[in-house]
């Protein structure tokens, strides 16, 4: 078993407009990208659960040309709202960094 950060080249999050957070996981090779996808670690339902939101609200995109998977979700509070703690949405990716991936 591995943590996602051990097999990814980059895991990051950022605003996509003030009402949406988008997160990218980019792998260093197509082989690793395929392997992690096959393991089911990045299934939409699982990641929605990780962030405590409905599966229908967690959008998932595969970008094989970049060996990347993207997740986008609505923000709990808009960027800059009084209750917001992350104006540019740069630190939402932590749960992904520590995600368990069933590969050797």
């Amino acid at each position: 078993m591995k943590k996602l950060y051990e097999v990814a080249r980059l895991i990051r999050s950022k605003n996509a407009g003030p009402f949406c957070i988008t997160m990218d996981i980019i792998f260093p090779s197509h082989e690793l990208y395929e392997k992690v996808l096959e393991s089911g670690a990045l299934d939409g339902g699982r990641i929605a659960g990780l962030y405590g939101i409905d599966e229908k609200d967690m959008k998932r995109y595969e970008l094989p040309l970049a060996n990347a998977v993207k997740f986008s979700m609505p923000r709990k509070y808009p960027a800059g709202d009084f209750m917001d703690e992350d104006l540019y949405g740069c630190q939402y990716h932590r749960p992904l960094v520590l995600l368990d991936v069933q590969i050797d």
């Binding site: 995109y61 970008l63 990347a68 993207k70 209750m83």
Partner: protein, 395 residues
């Protein structure tokens, strides 16, 4: 950015542009692109022209729209919410401080047609300032927009961002080529395709005012070790819509930052903080006559107080009040209360927090004035220029 830094950068760009006959285009002036931001930058450009004896036609594009315009769009059924937009209708109009329209490429080309050599524009899509160039030369196609999307953040779309700088693109009927200006840097198929991920919810759909750029079938090939060619992208023309951004005024903000290190407080940090809030609110009601619903108060904890390895956590108290004076009084009450709320493990007078400076509270810019986004809407327009105002200054 400071006026000095903006003036320095603009001087370099304007000098080089005038010497070579290349138009200089600035979009989303002053970051937000509201009318005061544009005025600020126009003032800087005029000063640069005077000091350097530059003579040229300056184009100004303002994109702020009035409440009357917005009301009219609503009445005509041309105002539409995007997915996840906050509710906003005519009854919310009084809370709206400012509303700007996010223009596309057409206003830039109108200003260039008007002879502008330098353009300072209000809010626009990041891509429009680049896409307007190929469109002007007859390449109103998917590759103009795909190239623009790729180079909009400069060298972020390179393999390794050795230095931050500009990117170059050439646009053709059926393709675009992308490469960085720096000779030791490279744009690879992977680095270019990866940029479709950046600050974009869906990497295959990029919405612009005049339509949607589809990148699902895009093909990225290396022309050489520094240049990547994009083919296969398509543009789906849509009825022209202009996005709106709007803010409402929330009040005056003030914050206090403190460190907490005592292990006996850390083990009960959150209940202790709730006591701080409770005592503060009581004092604020007593001393300032303000009920809890007359201001907003929150705290954010930095660090994990339950981890025995934690030597210190940060606590930020953050308040918003209806006026600047109340904001100052409220935060002083809060940090002074926090300093002395006792824990039962100790007897006698206690001082609980490490403040990193004096006085221990801070104001954000402009007296702490705070705004929040209240629009995520578009308006349908017949004419791409209808939400903007263009004028010229012959310097």
């Amino acid at each position: 950015m400071s006026r000095k830094a903006v003036k320095r950068d603009l001087t370099l760009m304007i000098r080089a542009g005038l010497e070579r006959g290349i138009p200089v285009i600035v979009g989303s002036a002053g970051t937000a692109g509201a009318d005061p931001n544009v005025d600020w930058m126009i003032g800087i450009v005029k000063e640069i022209a005077k000091e350097n004896d530059f003579h040229f036609r300056l184009g100004e594009i303002k994109t702020e729209i009035t409440k009357e315009q917005l009301k009219q769009y609503m009445e005509e059924g041309r105002f539409h919410a995007l997915e996840g937009a906050p509710d906003f209708s005519e009854k919310d109009m009084d809370t709206l401080t400012r509303c700007i329209s996010v223009i596309g490429a057409e206003p830039y080309n109108a200003a260039l047609d008007g002879g502008a050599q330098v353009i300072i524009a209000g809010r626009s899509t990041d891509t429009a300032i680049y896409a307007c160039v190929p469109i002007r030369y007859g390449f109103d196609n998917a590759f103009a927009w795909h190239a623009a999307k790729t180079i909009e953040c400069g060298t972020l779309a390179t393999v390794f961002e050795k230095k931050h700088g500009a990117m170059l693109a050439s646009v053709r009927k059926d393709s675009a080529s992308i490469w960085p200006g720096h000779p030791d840097m490279a744009a690879s198929p992977v680095s270019v395709v990866s940029h479709t991920l950046y600050e974009n919810a869906n990497p295959y759909i990029l919405t612009e005012p005049g339509g949607i750029l589809h990148t699902k079938d895009s093909v990225y090939t290396a022309e050489n070790e520094r240049v990547t060619r994009i083919t296969g992208s398509t543009m789906e023309k849509k009825p022209y819509t202009v996005k709106l951004e709007g803010v409402k005024f929330e009040g005056y903000r003030r914050v206090a930052l403190a460190g907490v290190s005592d292990p006996l407080i850390l083990k009960q940090l959150y209940s202790w903080l709730e006591t701080v809030v409770e005592h503060s609110r009581a004092k604020i009601r007593r001393g300032l006559g303000l009920a809890p619903d007359e201001y907003r108060l929150r705290y954010v904890v930095y660090g994990n107080p339950d981890d025995p390895c934690t030597e210190r956590v940060g606590v930020m108290f953050d308040i918003i009040a209806r006026n600047e004076e109340d904001a100052g009084s409220i935060i002083t009450n809060v940090w002074h209360t926090m300093l002395h709320v006792p824990i039962p493990e100790w007897e006698g007078g206690q001082s609980q927090t490490a403040f990193p400076f004096s006085p221990p509270d801070l104001q954000t810019q402009e007296g702490g004035k705070t705004y929040s986004f209240c629009l995520n809407h578009v308006v349908e327009v017949q004419d791409p220029l209808e939400t903007c105002r263009i004028r010229y200054y012959d310097l």
